[in-house]
Subunit: 408 residues, 2 copies
């Protein structure tokens, strides 16, 4: 996979160290490649954790492991393997996760359930335990590294490293929130990213962290799609070390609760956008705003129907203001819609209104908008107050090239 | 659109004339192209009609016209326009359909509601009434033509003409059933083709014809998908002239009812397969068989999830036995599935069983199967008795090329 960097790439931001978090990377050589592919993150005692995981009915053993461990709410380590998702590998896959957790727990002197494990890559090949153990031992001995090294180590078909940072003021303390994430195919509704990891020094009750993460997930990771394909491994975990020394956030009435939630939502939004910007073959980032729907849920479904339509996505790739395909995608969503009240815009220019093309609309600003790499499609149904915004990318030859020859 | 012929093309069959049906084609010049684009079919008095139409919430005025006319159950003419779907064109689109029906009715001395109208092509451009009327006048004056000329005239991005034929014995008579159809993008569940027209000389009550067509539609047109995008114009109409002189089919107890239904189902299956064989960019026809599901409905949804997965379709394009993507598509369907009982085969070779890869399965027959152009994927869930079979094609660079530059 030597794809060139996405034209939508953003530079990796300056990200502060998070007190209580130490990063290490190593070479497990899950594939024959010249790069680190195992990330080992240590978390000081007292770290709490929350997570959102794939809705797939066929999840990886890592997802099942994390789902169980999340019920305890505490974490001492995170291990991420790149190059092999370990999904659909039966008891051998489960054994690999257990071995990684056990070895890490022995090294740190904690419980295996304090160790979170994620893997990403090809499905159906059991993660080789010997490589994982040798990689772990190398990571245990490695000097700490920075965020961008860790972000690079969790990548698979990603073309650029992805990180985001924000802060929140809680009482008299400023806490930091940072995240790293990877895509970039098999990205779809119901927890859309593959692997994302968020770290904060805030002191926060795990229940509050979970509620805040679940709420932040809804308009971010759950509102992006690259190809409508939902991964068996989708995972976002948020770790809070508590080292900032703020008065612990426990519920909605805690001082700074709103600020923390807003910061977490902002961070999730930033990370989700990075995933779409690195969608396989993406040349354009597409924001789809649906208003006037019967309900927010209905608006979301219509927006996702547009975002997942191959014909809409190829039209945008071709810089073609083919709003007829948007009508088609509204029509197929199965949600309440009235053809004769529907309005559509590209960028700020209305192109169809009240059920038909606006004759003589100015095509120049539409053409200029479509030549850019951030496209906005607005659909108003004029039925109710429901609204939703989702993000996707265009469908190009690059997607076919990447995916018609991935495993072989 | 000068795409080369699909490698999955079949030759146009020898199709008999149907007594009571006369075909004519003409140039309405809906686009600037050197071909006929208006098809005019006359049907002798006494012809009955049935139809299945798109489930889109934003249908074309032609679909609405046909839906209303179908309630009367009789037909004297069919007019098909190619190059402009007339969908999402407001009152001007409705006026165009009314003008076509009125002019044809005046010519034949029948009611406008006896005239069925279908259009296919770009969405959002009102069908020009002057061109339609001039085209109709030319068609009224034209000498009758054969089935392949009509099949060619209804095409848009299709790369080959599509027709099918069968017969049924009803009492002492043999009746003929023929059909022509066109695809080839925007093909998806809920009445999957764009335009298909079936003609028979059988004598049949319209209610029986409708019931037989609806039943034949379920496992044929409703079980194919090219790109998951449902057209605003999907239409299949079946016309029966009654000229064969059989004792009229009226209900399930009529002599020959089973034979007629079986023949109609066979014809619909043939036509549906032709649409998939001409799916935009298709290089391979893919049959997906799901067994052991919780119910037939659940099996259908899982099969369609596989058939619509860009990652499955690109893997097949790359001749890659990437069954992990099949697992992913099962998992995202949201239907009951147990990862640990799932089995998958390509062709006749099991590649995964009981939740994990079959170690040491023979890759040679799988590789040979995937190099062919008719691919079979079998998924057994081992949960119940539900089963479904659906058909799709692979996703290739050809699809992107065709659709990233269609309208402009």
């Amino acid at each position: 996979m030597t794809e060139s960097t996405s034209p939508l790439a953003l530079p990796f931001p300056a990200m502060p160290a998070i007190d209580g978090v130490a990063l290490h990377v190593a070479r497990a050589q899950y594939k024959t490649w010249d790069r680190c592919d195992l990330t080992f993150v240590t978390l000081e005692p007292g770290t709490v954790v929350a997570g959102v995981l794939t809705q797939s009915k066929c999840p990886s053993p890592e997802v099942e492991w994390c789902r169980a461990a999340l019920t305890l709410g505490q974490a001492r380590a995170l291990v991420v393997n790149a190059g092999n998702s370990n999904a659909f590998t039966g008891s051998r896959g489960r054994a690999a996760v257990e071995a990684i957790a056990a070895r890490t727990a022995a090294h740190l002197g904690c419980q295996p359930s304090d160790v979170f494990v994620s893997s990403t890559g090809v499905i159906g090949v059991p993660l080789p335990i010997d490589k994982a153990e040798a990689g772990l031992d190398a990571a245990f001995a490695a000097a700490p590294c920075g965020w961008e090294d860790a972000a690079a180590t969790i990548m698979t078909t990603d073309t650029f490293t992805k990180g985001a940072v924000t802060t929140a003021v809680i009482g008299d303390r400023t806490v930091s929130l940072v995240g790293i994430i990877k895509g970039s195919g098999m990205i779809a509704p119901d927890m859309a990213t593959m692997l994302g990891f968020i770290f904060t020094d805030a002191a926060v009750e795990p229940e509050f962290l979970q509620a805040a993460l679940s709420k932040a997930n809804a308009p971010s990771f759950s509102c992006i799609t690259v190809d409508s394909d939902t991964s068996t491994s989708d995972t976002v975990l948020a770790f809070a070390t508590g080292k900032a020394g703020n008065v612990q956030l426990a519920d909605d009435d805690s001082v700074g609760a709103d600020a923390f939630r807003a910061a977490l939502a902002d961070l999730c939004h930033q990370l989700a956008m990075l995933v779409v910007r690195d969608g396989e073959g993406a040349q354009k980032l597409i924001e789809i705003q649906v208003t006037g729907a019967d309900s927010d849920r209905s608006a979301h479904r219509i927006a996702m129907s547009i975002a997942n339509s191959p014909l809409v996505k190829t039209a945008i790739a071709g810089e073609d203001a083919n709003w007829g395909r948007v009508v088609m995608a509204v029509g197929k969503a199965g949600e309440p819609a009235d053809r004769d009240t529907l309005s559509i815009r590209f960028g700020n220019t209305q192109v169809a209104e009240g059920g038909l093309a606006l004759s003589g609309y100015n095509e120049a600003p539409v053409a200029a908008h479509l030549k850019g790499n951030e496209i906005e499609i607005g659909v108003d149904l004029a039925l109710g107050e429901g609204r939703a915004t989702v993000w996707t990318c265009d469908l190009t030859h690059g997607y076919i090239s990447i995916n018609a020859d991935y495993r072989s």
